[in-house]
């Protein structure tokens, strides 16, 4: 059986489905209990699973992640929510120095199984502090996996896969599309594999890579390009770490052209990694400058957020520039 759910409903559904079968799963975070989360991602879960499994924590991200690590070392599966990715930094030490390095530093003895959920990205008029996309910080932290869904089906499957995965996962939820679309989501538990990209649209002339909410901008731009006779292949990365290099390189080798789209600021963003990979492993196929369409190298603005975020005209412009090169 399946039904139409939004992305945020798919989150709730994933948590509920998985928690029913596994009493080692604990949710914790600010306002996740009685209130069901400020985005309602945990709506109804405290009622179903009780206060011991869905915990309204004190207001301290370091405590949320620190205790999640300690729970998981004892055998639980902790799924903390950080209310907005923008507020994760008080826990950055626990994530970067502890969560990510525990397995390595203990020679495999202690391996925290924590899946950190955090709504991220712009598009909700939230200004600098409710809009950030700092996935590159986590991608640059060995020991963390980084997963970003772009639709309801993947959201449920990737979240369940993340919780089951024995490694720490940053599960970044594009809040801009929390309620932007509905999609078929099976009722039962299923997984979408971590580390596998999806070809969201096939094409021959240029590869456009995106993830999260930008996937939809990329797709729209690709449709427009199609109208103009340009066949763009669009990849939905789904996992940043570990990256699905095969799918990525295959596409780039086929098209010889690359445009990467992300909300995060440009300098040292994840787009640079993708371009660098192509420049190392597929350079002989590359026929044009590889372009990045990204947020600006500024903090996230309030009034001009629509100008900050990559949009269809900017992606289309990059597609055109690379194919007409």
């Amino acid at each position: 059986m399946s039904r139409e759910l939004t992305v945020v409903q798919a989150v709730t559904d994933a948590l509920r489905t998985e928690m029913r079968g596994d009493d080692s799963i604990i949710l914790l975070g600010e306002d996740v209990g009685l209130n069901g989360g400020v985005f309602r991602a945990t709506d109804g879960l405290q009622k179903e699973f009780g206060e011991a499994r869905v915990i309204d924590t004190p207001l301290a991200e370091a405590g949320i992640i620190g205790t999640a690590i300690g729970m998981s070392l004892y055998g639980l599966k902790a799924v903390p929510e950080i209310q907005f990715l923008d507020f994760i930094y008080p826990a950055f030490d626990q994530i970067v120095n502890e969560l990510a390095k525990f397995r390595y530093r203990s020679g495999g003895q202690y391996a925290p199984n924590v899946t950190i959920r955090a709504p991220y990205g712009g598009g909700i008029k939230g200004g600098h502090y409710h809009s950030q996309s700092t996935e590159a910080y986590f991608a640059h932290t060995a020991g963390l996996k980084v997963v970003v869904p772009s639709n309801p089906y993947d959201t449920k499957g990737l979240l369940i896969a993340s919780i089951r995965d024995p490694d720490p996962v940053m599960f970044l939820e594009p809040k801009r599309i929390y309620r932007a679309m509905k999609g078929e989501v099976p009722e039962e538990a299923y997984t979408v594999p971590i580390g596998k990209a999806a070809v969201a649209k096939e094409g021959d002339d240029v590869t456009v890579v995106a993830y999260g909410s930008m996937l939809h901008v990329a797709l729209q731009a690709a449709m427009k390009a199609e109208e103009q006779g340009v066949s763009a292949e669009v990849l939905d990365l789904r996992t940043l770490v570990p990256l699905d290099e095969d799918t990525f390189l295959q596409s780039v080798k086929k098209t010889g052209r690359l445009v990467v789209v992300h909300e995060a600021q440009r300098t040292a963003g994840f787009g640079a990694e993708l371009v660098a990979l192509a420049a190392e492993k597929a350079i002989e196929h590359i026929e044009a400058p590889m372009l990045r369409v990204t947020g600006l190298d500024t903090p996230f603005p309030y009034a001009l957020e629509n100008q900050y975020l990559p949009d269809v005209p900017r992606v289309l412009d990059a597609i055109q520039r690379t194919v007409s090169y």
Binding site: L34, N35, F87, G127, D297
Partner: protein
């Protein structure tokens, strides 16, 4: 430091004579004015948000006495590091309602160029620091400013304001500890409104009170009725005086209640007990202060009516003008990242101008 609550004016408006601060009638009326203006601006702000004219709003309803009382104990040279629920300190230092609405609309006339969400004011020339969404970060910052004041031999103080939930963050601990070790002229004002969005104080901390946390740092701690503007003023004035005398920092816990939802994005009826709200309605700080002024014979109904009318008119006018302003110019998006635009920022702007020739 005990759980005892400092109260100067009782709910019925009766005053504890021995504790009554020596303020002139004009000063008392000023206190009333500041509280009322905050209330009126907030009422309208929430309404505008519900009408879809503002993207977001966060109200101080019911808590006005806390920051108005504390802010009134400061001199204009004292620095204020605000919580997002205390516009009154800027206003009492001369920020106009117009300036506020420009910020709320993030328009071209906004002093911060539309860079931040509504209510995240910044009033440099009034020594009111830029409001930050990340909680508690202002606490160690205020400590640093107090250090600088002391280093420069000035007798000013810095005050940091924050909520009860914010006391759980590491920055609260870190800031208070530094201030006490360095014995700085710094005052920490906790707006204990009993809730952090949907999380009640009992899930926030198991300590007897917020004020008692001062003991962990070896600093003064006081607990005051936060709906009693004279109690807050009194405790703040004492703390400020102590600070100016070089006797170090103070933690003030002002016990109050959040009468609105957390913000326009929140619906508090999902989680707050109705009776609690009803009980606190009776403690309204503005009504209580009105009762006090009446008892004291200072109340002037015509003056109050006029104040209300005038403020509402200012608000209406401010909205009109704010709504007529254009957005900030596109170029402003790359300004104020650094003192000067880098070549990279110039290039990114040019790209934007090329792909969006329609945007000014």
């Amino acid at each position: 430091m005990s759980g005892k609550l400092l109260q100067v004016v009782r709910e019925d408006g009766q005053v504890e004579k021995a504790l009554e601060p020596r303020l002139s009638d004009a000063q008392l009326k000023e206190l009333y004015k500041h509280m009322l203006q905050v209330r009126l601006v907030d009422e309208r702000g929430m309404l505008l948000q519900r009408q879809g004219r503002l993207g977001f709003y966060i109200s101080a309803e019911g808590q006005e006495a806390v920051h108005v009382g504390a802010g009134y104990a400061l001199e204009p040279e004292d620095w204020y590091y605000p919580h997002y629920r205390d516009p009154g300190v800027g206003m009492m230092r001369g920020v106009t309602i117009q300036e506020m609405f420009h910020q709320l609309y993030g328009n071209r006339a906004d002093a911060t160029h539309g860079k931040q969400m509504p209510n995240h004011y910044s009033w440099k020339d009034r020594n009111v620091v830029s409001v930050s969404s990340p909680l508690s970060t202002q606490i160690p910052q205020a400590v640093g400013t107090a250090y600088a004041m002391k280093y420069r031999g000035q007798r000013h103080v810095a005050m940091a304001s924050f909520g009860d939930g914010s006391t759980s963050e590491g920055d609260f601990h870190v800031g208070l500890n530094f201030a006490a070790v360095w014995k700085l002229p710094c005052i920490f004002l906790c707006n204990n409104n009993q809730w952090a969005i949907s999380v009640p104080l009992s899930k926030q901390t198991a300590s007897e009170s917020i004020a008692i946390k001062a003991l962990a740092y070896g600093m003064e701690g006081v607990r005051v009725d936060g709906n009693d503007v004279l109690a807050v003023y009194r405790a703040s004035k004492e703390a400020v005086d102590r600070a100016r005398r070089g006797e170090g920092p103070t933690l003030i816990e002002a016990v109050t209640y959040r009468m609105s939802s957390h913000s326009s994005s929140d619906d508090a009826t999902r989680y707050t007990p109705k009776e609690e709200l009803e009980a606190w309605k009776r403690k309204d700080p503005i009504l209580r202060f009105e009762r006090y002024l009446r008892n004291k014979g200072v109340w002037d109904q015509a003056w109050a009516d006029q104040l209300r009318e005038q403020t509402n008119a200012q608000v209406a006018q401010a909205i009109q003008l704010a709504e007529s302003q254009p957005k900030p110019k596109l170029g402003s998006i790359v300004d104020d990242v650094f003192a000067e635009r880098t070549p990279q920022l110039e290039e990114q702007l040019a790209d934007l101008q090329r792909t969006h020739p329609e945007v000014e």
